[in-house]
């Protein structure tokens, strides 16, 4: 375990000590924070096992050529279509999009498609979009999606090619 990881775990343990003490002395603010933590943690615990198993399966089964062809530099606009479809169906939104991005990157996906995918992961998720249009109206949802999708793709193209030109490497998180 490296130093950075150790510091993270010390921080996490301190948080647990803080929460237990909050319960013991009936410190309302601390108890509320713990409840917030649990609310998100439970959601994560439900999603993480299947999501990571699928990422593992993806890693061993999907050929590098397939990803290069569909998400790679030379795949043209098709990679953005895949990015939208993948973003619309990613369960867990942005949280789960990051490990998926990592798996795609190691199979040869291009920066621009990765950035477009992660940015759209919470933007075009189907269940969220349904809730949005029922509370804010269909007009709102249509304009928001109609504007954000092309703009995200254009910005991602520029950012992607900039990162590529500056020889940027993503961290080697296995």
């Amino acid at each position: 375990m490296n130093k950075k990881t150790k510091i993270s775990y010390i921080f996490i343990i301190l948080f647990f000590i803080f929460s237990v003490s909050a319960f013991l002395v009936h410190f309302d603010f601390g108890v509320k924070i713990w409840n917030n933590f649990m609310m998100f943690a439970i959601e994560m615990i439900k999603i993480i096992p299947p999501a990571f198993v699928l990422i593992g399966l993806f890693d061993v089964w999907v050929k590098r050529e397939t990803i290069e062809k569909n998400f790679g530099k030379s795949s043209g606009m098709i990679k953005y279509l895949w990015a939208i479809l993948l973003a619309a169906t990613t369960v867990g939104g942005t949280f789960m999009a990051f490990p998926i991005l990592n798996a795609l990157y190691h199979k040869g996906a291009h920066y621009s498609s990765l950035i477009a995918y992660v940015t759209m992961a919470s933007l075009v998720r189907i269940p969220m979009t349904v809730i949005e249009s029922s509370t804010l109206g269909i007009k709102f949802t249509l304009i928001r999606m109609g504007v954000s999708i092309p703009v995200v793709i254009i910005f991602s193209m520029f950012l992607g090619s900039y990162l590529e030109k500056s020889d940027y490497k993503l961290p080697d998180l296995k």
Binding site: F98, P99, L136
Partner: protein, 159 residues
């Protein structure tokens, strides 16, 4: 959620029938990737549990300012630093609209909430690197402004 589990179980079964060794390797890969990101994930959850203490009242107060430019700026900042699940965010957005807050400000809040992640930084930087994360979030912030302004124009709230 059930769909995700059914899909995963079927995928694992097919994989297992096709190649037992590869399937075991897939589980090893999954575990390794999970362990690598776990501390950053927990840290992010802790930050989220603190940031959720920002009350709805505070958000309503800042977003509902007389000056719509200040309202928009607040919505972009609050949207960027907070994070909330959709089942909390959209009912809140509904309340904001009922309170007479402009669609432009609501759009700024909702869009930056979804795209700009100050609080997800510990996780994002592990995958995208510091520079990649900063640039992606900067880009998302600008896009949030564009989306908010176009929503504002479409609803006849500006110009």
């Amino acid at each position: 959620m059930t769909g995700l589990y059914i899909f995963t179980i079927i995928s694992v079964l097919i994989s297992f029938l096709m190649d037992r060794k590869k399937t075991i390797l897939a589980f090893k890969v999954a575990l390794k990737k999970f362990v690598a990101i776990l501390p950053s994930f927990l840290k992010m959850l802790i930050y989220i549990s603190f940031i959720l203490m920002i009350s709805d009242q505070l958000i309503i107060k800042y977003l509902g300012q007389e000056n719509s430019i200040l309202g928009l700026v607040s919505s972009l900042i609050l949207g960027s630093i907070t994070i909330m699940p959709g089942f909390i965010a959209y009912p809140l957005a509904g309340i904001l609209v009922e309170k007479g807050i402009s669609y432009m400000v609501v759009a700024g809040f909702v869009t930056s909430l979804m795209m700009v992640g100050v609080i997800t930084y510990p996780v994002e930087k592990e995958y995208l690197g510091v520079k990649g994360t900063l640039m992606r979030n900067g880009m998302s912030f600008i896009i949030s402004i564009i989306v908010a302004l176009i929503i504002g124009i479409s609803y006849g709230e500006v110009f």
